[in-house]
Subunit: 363 residues, 2 copies
């Protein structure tokens, strides 16, 4: 029995534009090889930096291209978190943000969060920064409402809190209307915007970027130069070639088509298979849905049983600071699993859930 | 007047095998694109990891492939340096090692160093680790003698000190016989070996690796996954394709031929142009030579004058902890400057040095 893994937010192999990128990598090297292959500016491959700056209507000095967006988050934490400082996060939040806060001895502090995202009135301040994924959040799939975006942007603009807006999923939209980013609503003040090409082109290339005030970007560059000197330029030049050939929008459309089918498949399977008392998010985009099992379900025990039965997911408590939530919940990534396997995996899970509950009742 | 820069240890553009790498990048993606373009193991692209393991006769679990070797040093410092701990370094040492030690609040401590390299009997212990470049050292061009390598290996094997052996230059050898690495002499015990493809293939690819005990490598991997998740896989796969096609040795030979000519040119120019009382290292390989100006010369003042006259180098004090040495010295990188420019640059410098000394005498 093959394992069906809902555990990682990994694009399906079909999402990766392999042939186009192979061609782009070669073309970029043939055109600009002596630049790409030597040491370069720590801020990133200049033509890509300029492309990003134009796209967001900022100066290239406000852009830092990193070895993936996690590297950007890691640099920001390294620069801003002093031991004991709060790092505000959504509940649930991206687990690696929790680990990075912990590594820098920050105190990850959950902001009250509901189906409309985090509550901007509930921030415990002061804090080193607020880490948020406003659109199609990892792990919940939730999207911050427009009203709350405005409120958060105002707090950022007023200097109340520095917002790190992580936005890798917004272009993977299956339905509904795009919302403005917090960065846009704040006019760029008090917000650092983080983007990644991982979900719409390729994660293995490790190309992400930060946009922020030029002075902050300069300080991040100074830290980056002491950390890795120059980012890997070949992947950046390959991405630049890809966007220059105007392949990005068509690829996003293709990825969205592929993944919408999977999103639909998992929501249908949940509806069909899962018992009363289970609820889940219905994301309009992104890679994830969040499940709340019936009250009293131990998501960790269910995961152990499921893993033995060949189905994996990530238990909800991994997305909270230790002991603060998620015990009866789980994150399901539908991006990597074929629609047929999604149905089979959810059926296996439903059957286990039934067994666990019967056992609990029997005891 | 074009600036002649002896400042950075950057390979000449002619050293970069652009066309071959363009071909390798495309071939690697065409063959293994869905692996290379997705998230992968934090330890690196598996086929390259296996190639490295075989080359050094270790297990793949003892290899961590990083986004350049500085990233490896940065991870090691992040793991091992607690505030106030000593980090032992050569005097002079690679400046970025000093910055990294400082960033982690370590105390960079210079080990007595002479023309045979650092003195293993002069280590101030305990220390988080000893950072050394035993072969064609940056910045001095010096090589640690065999006898001292043996003594250092014994200290490492006995658990007296963890040695981080940084070895990016040893394959760029113009003459003389290769020496065994400290890692080899210690049988791998107590030594982490760091290598880079920057000086023999391409720095912009950012591919380096660490070899060490499997348990330490596992801890570094855990830190790396929280820092950048997955290293950039395309450059690693491109390097793997390059070595698999057996292009490495021929490229090293080509690079060595190109740079030997520059090493010869700079030593001849020094001999021809520089005044009595100036001395310099005569490296058998690598990118650098180290100049000691006549007593009383202020290398910083000379650098300012030289920069105005269109010649740059790095002043010696940048390679020591603040205030501990190098005031009358300088590092000259000859790798990026054509032989003709080397002669012209050294002539300009000699003329400035003469002026500075006349002025000093006149005062």
């Amino acid at each position: 029995m093959a394992v069906i893994s809902f555990a990682r937010g990994v694009p399906a192999p079909e999402c990766l534009p392999v042939d186009a990128l192979a061609d782009c990598a070669r073309a970029a090297l043939e055109r600009d090889g002596t630049t790409i292959l030597n040491y370069g500016p720590v801020g990133g491959y200049a033509p890509l930096r300029e492309w990003v700056a134009a796209r967001h209507e900022v100066e290239p000095s406000q852009v830092l291209i990193t070895n993936g967006s996690l590297q950007g988050l890691s640099l920001i934490a390294g620069l801003l978190v002093e031991p004991g400082m709060r790092v505000l996060v959504e509940g649930p939040t991206y687990d690696r943000a929790l680990h990075i806060a912990a590594r820098h001895h920050g105190k990850a502090t959950v902001v009250l969060t509901d189906d409309d995202g985090l509550d901007p009135e509930a921030l415990e301040l002061p804090a080193a920064f607020l880490y948020t994924i406003p659109t199609f959040q990892n792990p919940s799939g939730r999207t911050l409402s427009l009203e709350r975006r405005r409120a958060l942007a105002e707090l950022a603009r007023d200097g109340k809190v520095l917002v790190l807006e992580d936005d890798p999923y917004s272009l993977v939209r299956y339905e509904g209307e795009p919302l403005p980013s917090v960065y846009e609503l704040a006019g760029g003040e008090g917000v650092v915007y983080s983007f990644s090409f991982s979900k719409i082109v390729s994660p293995g290339l490790r190309v992400g970027y930060l946009i922020g005030p030029a002075d902050l970007i300069a300080r991040l560059e100074a830290l980056a130069v002491q950390t890795y000197l120059t980012p890997a330029l070949l992947p950046q030049a390959t991405v630049h070639e890809f966007v220059s050939r105007d392949l990005l929008d068509a690829n996003i459309e293709r990825v969205v088509g592929l993944l919408r089918e999977r999103r639909d498949a998992i929501l249908e399977a949940f509806e069909r298979e899962l018992p009363d008392g289970t609820s889940w998010s219905r994301p309009e985009g992104g890679y994830f849905t969040w499940l709340d099992f019936p009250e009293g379900t131990d998501a960790g025990a269910l995961l152990n049983a499921a893993t033995e039965a060949g189905v994996t997911f990530v238990k909800g408590s991994d997305f909270y600071p230790p002991g603060t939530g998620g015990e009866t919940s789980a994150r399901f990534a539908f991006s990597f699993v074929s629609p047929a396997d999604i149905g089979a995996g959810v059926a296996r899970l439903a059957s286990l859930l039934g067994e666990l509950r019967s056992a609990a009742v029997a005891v």
